[in-house]
């Protein structure tokens, strides 16, 4: 970020909004990730201890749950006070702490980075978790939204492996998610829960939480198995075939579950145990990002890009294209299944209707909004679309006009998405900025 300065000078006197934005960016470019995280924690703590008083002062009924969007859209007269809350409680503390203490945090970040980059990454993750935990602690709704957002990140990233990195168009993600959700649910319900579907728990329910990762992995493998069923016939060809076969697969899975009375049929499957706590979901999301990022940065994983950009060249350069495509597809499906397993245990209820076309549109929107072939993009896309979806909830039907409209705009101005074709280097991210 240090090379921002000359860029501005070469542009001459800043013109209009873009220039101000650039000046703003360069002013804050010296703040390391550690500084931002500290700023966020400070803001969250500020809200936690003084939020009630401030919102009372501003005439708000209570602390705005999701950045004030709900309040603003419900009662237009409260827009100024909600904005004031947003600026006063979030923006100013974050920017102030970040900028004012930037030298301190730069030094600190440099010191930690010198000990071990890996340690620095872990520390940053711990701080991020702390910030999220403190933020979500204030209301159950926030916690729920946060968990679903994290699951959305997993889903988006896993679909990006197939649609972005591998360049195929797969429509079966809700199907994989359903397989994962049902497999994980059946596992926990049969073994650890006394419920009306499968009767007495086979094992002691107190052990259940330790076996929850097994349930998630099982869900992942169930989805990967489903992916194998698609991959065998459709990878003989390229292009539209996979899109069509995978769309068919999604509907097959949905109607299969609808007709399986054992798992509740169209009524769905409920009362999953409450194992998907925030640390669990956060941990799985981090694991998912880490493994996928590891994979796509290895030469073995980059073979996906080679196959996408020119398959015959990849073939001639000793790349086993069939195996590469297979691995990419099953890998993406695995993480979709794992995300499905988490989803089922967060909502503690699944029904086939939630794995339909609407879910597909949502995940696809996140992938294409955020950017193909990029971990950054997937995170940004998933977080922004799912938060936007929650924030615009008061608008009801209009939500489904605004989000697609936004997507169309992105497609016009940045056809590959906001942050496409960029490598995600965590160690670069946590480095001090000086």
């Amino acid at each position: 970020m240090t090379n921002q300065q000359p860029e501005i000078q070469s542009n001459g006197p800043s013109k209009g909004g873009k220039g101000y934005f650039k000046a703003f960016r360069s002013y804050f470019s010296c703040v390391p990730m550690l500084g931002w995280l500290a700023g966020i924690i400070a803001a969250v703590l500020f809200e936690r201890f003084l939020g009630d008083q401030i919102s009372e002062l501003l005439g708000l009924p209570k602390i705005p749950v999701l950045f004030g969007c709900m309040i603003m859209l419900k009662d237009f007269s409260l827009i100024p006070s909600a904005l004031a809350f947003l600026v006063g409680v979030y923006f100013i503390p974050i920017l102030l702490v970040g900028r004012a203490l930037a030298p301190v945090f730069n030094g600190l970040a440099g010191m930690i980075y010198k000990i071990s980059p890996m340690f620095s990454v872990v520390l940053h993750l711990a701080l991020l978790y702390l910030a999220l935990h403190l933020w979500a602690d204030l209301s159950a709704y926030r916690l729920m939204t946060l968990k679903f957002t994290l699951v959305a990140v997993m889903l988006t990233l896993s679909l990006n492996v197939i649609n972005g990195y591998m360049g195929e168009f797969s429509c079966s993600h809700p199907g994989f998610m359903a397989l994962g959700a049902y497999a994980a649910s059946v596992f926990t319900l049969v073994l650890f829960t006394n419920d009306r579907f499968f009767g007495e728990a086979l094992l002691s329910p107190s052990m259940g939480v330790y076996f929850f990762p097994v349930a998630i992995i099982l869900g992942g493998f169930a989805a990967a198995l489903g992916a194998l069923v698609i991959a065998i016939p459709s990878f003989r060809t390229r292009g539209d075939y996979l899109a069509i076969i995978s769309l068919a697969f999604m509907f097959i899975v949905k109607s299969l579950i609808e007709n399986l009375e054992v798992v509740g049929g169209p009524r769905g499957l409920g009362s999953q145990p409450n194992y998907a706590s925030l640390p669990m979901v956060f941990g799985w999301t981090v694991l998912c990002i880490w493994v996928i990022n590891n994979f796509v940065r290895s030469t073995l994983g980059k073979a996906l890009n080679a196959v996408r950009d020119d398959e015959s060249a990849a073939d001639a350069m000793t790349v086993n294209t069939r195996r590469t495509k297979m691995v990419g597809f099953l890998f993406g499906a695995f993480w979709a299944g794992a995300a499905g397993g988490l989803f089922a245990h967060i909502l503690r209820y699944v029904n086939p209707a939630s794995f339909g076309l609407q879910r597909l549109a949502e995940i696809l929107a996140m992938v294409y909004f955020g950017g193909l072939n990029s971990v950054h993009g997937s995170i940004v896309g998933a977080v922004s679309i799912s938060l936007l979806g929650e924030a615009l909830r008061p608008l009801e039907l209009f939500k489904w006009i605004i989000i697609p409209l936004l997507l169309i705009l992105v497609m016009i101005f940045r056809p590959t998405g906001l942050i496409a074709f960029k490598e995600f280097n965590v160690k670069q991210l946590v480095r001090p900025r000086n």
């Binding site: 030469t299 980059k302 080679a306 015959s312 990849a314």
Partner: protein, 256 residues
């Protein structure tokens, strides 16, 4: 025992006999040329040798191993490396990544390493990077290693393709019109690189080329292919004076 032996290679697309009874024997260190007018079937020969097309008759033996029934990537890993007539590049990848990708068959860290990292992967990736950088230095592209391949000028892309083909550790290198669309300066660079590869690695090279001067200067023996059949074979001097070649190939160029 010859390095490469091609016996009576023929292919037929429906009613079109694209290549008929093509024969070639190459020993290690040989450098051969294959010339012929457009549509003569030169690239088709290459495609059969690399497993992209399956010949209707005949066989290709590499060190007495028949390529029949193997996938292109397996044949490439066994030692037939190639470049393409129209550049086949991966446009979202950097130059270094291109060359590293060609080391794919030597990766042993497997999916576990790809997913979770580890010492073995780190070691192998470093090895591959070093090898790729050496090859890029050979074609004088090491300073562009981190550039996206689309940012390179055309001649450099061609050289990158040679480095990429070399990274597969070929026993025989097939170059499909390495000088197509190049200016004289780039031509000299390519010539130098081919000489270097041939001299330093003692690699067998088979060259498809349109520029006769270039082929005549480089190759020890030349075959002329017209309408899928070899009409002449011999030393550059023989080919230059061969009446049928002049009629089929050079004659056209004078007319043009």
């Amino acid at each position: 025992m010859p390095l490469l032996e091609i016996k009576d290679l023929s292919i037929r697309f429906g009613g079109l006999q694209a290549v008929k009874n093509y024969n070639l024997t190459m020993n290690p260190g040989d450098i051969r040329g294959l010339i012929g007018p457009n549509g003569a079937g030169k690239t088709t020969v290459f495609n059969m040798m690399t497993g992209i097309l399956t010949p209707t008759e005949g066989q290709v033996l590499l060190n007495n191993w028949s390529i029949e029934g193997f996938q292109p990537y397996q044949i490439a890993a066994r030692g037939i490396g190639r470049t393409f007539q129209n550049l086949c590049l991966w446009r979202h990848m950097t130059v270094l990544e291109h060359v590293k990708m060609a080391c794919y068959s030597k990766i042993t860290y497997g999916l576990f390493g790809a997913f979770f990292g580890g010492a073995r992967r780190k070691r192998e990736e470093t090895q591959m990077t070093n090898k790729a950088m050496d090859l890029l230095a050979l074609v004088k592209l090491d300073q562009f290693a981190d550039q996206l391949v689309g940012n390179l000028p055309y001649g450099a892309q061609r050289r990158m393709e040679i480095a990429r083909a070399l990274a597969t550790d070929p026993k025989i290198l097939l170059l499909d019109e390495p000088t197509a669309g190049m200016n004289p300066e780039e031509l000299d660079q390519i010539m130098e690189i081919i000489r270097l590869v041939h001299g330093e690695y003692k690699m067998a090279i088979l060259l498809i080329e349109h520029r006769l001067k270039f082929v005549m200067e480089l190759c020890e023996r030349i075959q002329a292919l017209v309408f899928g059949e070899v009409i002449a074979e011999g030393e550059p001097e023989e080919i230059r004076n061969h009446p049928q070649v002049i009629e089929a190939y050079l004659g056209k160029e004078i007319e043009y």
